[in-house]
Amino acid sequence: MNESILEVEEVTKLFGGLAALDDVSFSVEAGEIKAVIGPNGAGKTTLFNVLTGVYRPNSGRVILKGKNIIGSRPDQITAMGMIRTFQTVELFEGMTVLENTMVGCHSRSKYGFLSNSLRIPRAMREERRIFEEAMQILTDVGIETRASDEGMNLAYGQQRMLEFARALASQPEILLLDEPAAGLNPYETGELSNLISKLRDRGLTIIIVEHDMGLVMGISNDIVVLDYGEVIARGTPDVIKNDPKVIEAYLGIGTE
């Protein structure tokens, strides 16, 4: 592994008196799969919300490719190459699988209200490009046959895949996955695991929040463990498996 693509430095996020993130620091190397684990309520989703600009932390910095992104809007962070999926599926209602995926291309297309109202040729070319790229991604994740169905009508596992596809459509450098295996059956989890490894091999950096320890231990290069908003351990899967603090944190709450 070489240079770090993302640095989280001393990030603290308070909700009232509660520190959802308490002085969290870690760095992510380009091309690695980093897992963030921890019991329910540990602050994992809050971390993603801070990284993607949904929440502004009370203190600390997030350095993405050398630039502090605290205060940037979510769409700006997406345009910089970091995009997330959601713990609870957040598909766009009333839109087809294809249209959902095409929204993912938003950050890499530019024509606005006027050009599109007037259907200027360049905007039309862009539209065709968006369409072709979205179709390609649907093929990659294996749901291209459902392209014209409404996204919300897919089976749950396929909805997860669609969220995945929609995020990939932005051609990110860093992909944040919030419990992508939640609710998937073992077969689907296997497929997901293959897909994630394939993306890593293509050079994508992935940060994954996941409760499925089999998946986490199988694919991640490095793990950060959060408990009550604090980093209690970090290291390779083998180190984490045997860390007494980690075992205690999980036993104290009950394993997933």
Partner: protein, 354 residues
């Protein structure tokens, strides 16, 4: 392009051609028939319909696509009307078409001033802000007597003329207004079928997900709102040059609610449906007004539509929100589809008997 996408596009544009053809021939057979029970001047009402359609098309984008409600679009309509009326009556040399453009632009500028700070906040503060704007505008129209003529209003507004062509009859104005509406319609269809349309629908469905996918939701909302203000201003300016007089009573809260009702009755986010809503509600008063002639003994108060317009709009809003949230045209489509299905069943039965 994708099969499905192809179908959607050609469907929208084909509908456009059918509607355009219909609008073109309507005045030819819609001449008032003497002695008919319904004393409706269809061409005259259709001009008003077209004028309202300008405002409603924009509001439909705002409400149906961006999911933001405005309760003060009458203000923009009024700003458009008063701007051109003041310019063209003060300075008799002032080109009327320029007055219309300036009216629409000023409405857009004020929309930007109001929308920019409010639309950055999460939640629907726009409803409150526009409600206030509507009231303030109404008070200004009535009180700035030197400028607006106060409650009496402004008389002798010159008819619209474009490059020497004077639009001084209903039929001429009809074709002008509907040409404008059709152009707006075309622009709107183009827009909603594009990435911008997808971005708007996305932010309506899930703002946090739209943000995360790279849609600048704040800016999109401001732009849609400003565009809707421009279109309302345009409608208002045309209104002034059609009526040739205006007074504050034409730009009350009831008009703002009428616009919203038109969108809801037609179908939020349904461009063609919106048009159905405008036609239905513009013709409604004239249709209701003939009831007293047919039903003897109806109370006098019911013969004046404006007495109970707001109550009626409110009722329609509630009924449609509960029973037909997708609007009249969607409901009709479903009705036709159901009718076809049962007709087919019946035919199959009959055939089976043979």
């Amino acid at each position: 392009m994708a099969r499905r996408k192809g179908i959607v596009e050609t469907h929208s544009y084909r509908t456009f051609l059918i509607v355009a053809a219909f609008i073109f021939i309507l005045p030819i057979w819609a001449r008032p028939i003497p002695g008919e029970a319904l004393h409706m001047d269809i061409v005259n009402l259709m001009v008003l319909t077209g004028i309202y359609a300008c405002a409603v098309l924009g509001l439909n984008l705002l409400l149906g696509y961006a999911g933001q409600i405005s309760l003060g679009h009458a203000a923009f309509f009024g700003i458009g009307a008063y701007t051109t009326a003041i310019l063209c009556t003060r300075f008799t040399w002032f080109p009327t078409w320029l007055g219309v453009i300036l009216g629409a632009s000023l409405a857009g500028a004020i929309g930007w001033l109001v929308g920019k700070p409010v639309l950055r906040l999460k939640g629907n503060y726009l409803a409150m802000a526009t409600l206030g704007l509507g009231e303030i505008a109404f008070i200004l129209f009535s009180q700035l007597k030197g400028l607006t003529g106060g409650t009496v209003g402004m008389l002798n507004i010159p008819p619209l003329s474009i490059f020497g062509l004077k639009f001084d009859t209903d039929i001429k104005f009809y074709y002008l207004v509907w040409a404008i509406v059709l152009v707006i319609m075309l622009l709107t269809i183009n827009l909603v079928l594009s990435r911008v349309g997808r971005g708007l629908r996305a932010l309506h469905s899930s703002e946090v997900a739209a943000d995360a996918m790279g849609v600048n939701t704040g800016s999109y909302r401001v732009k849609v709102f400003v565009w809707s203000a421009v279109l309302a201003g345009l409608g208002g300016a045309l209104f002034a040059h059609f009526q040739l007089y205006i007074n504050p009573e034409s730009f009350t809260f009831a008009l703002s609610i009428l616009f919203v009702t038109m969108v809801v009755v037609g179908g939020m986010g349904d461009i063609w449906g919106g048009l159905v809503g405008v036609v239905a509600l513009t013709f409604l008063p004239s249709i209701i007004q003939v009831f007293p002639e047919w039903i003897p003994g109806i109370p006098e108060s019911l013969t004046n539509f404006s007495n109970y317009a707001l109550v009626l709009y409110g009722l329609l809003l509630i009924i449609f929100m509960i029973f037909l949230p997708k609007g009249l045209s969607y409901g009709m489509e479903r009705g036709v589809a159901a009718g076809r299905r049962s007709a087919k069943l019946l035919l199959d039965r009959i055939r089976a008997h043979d």
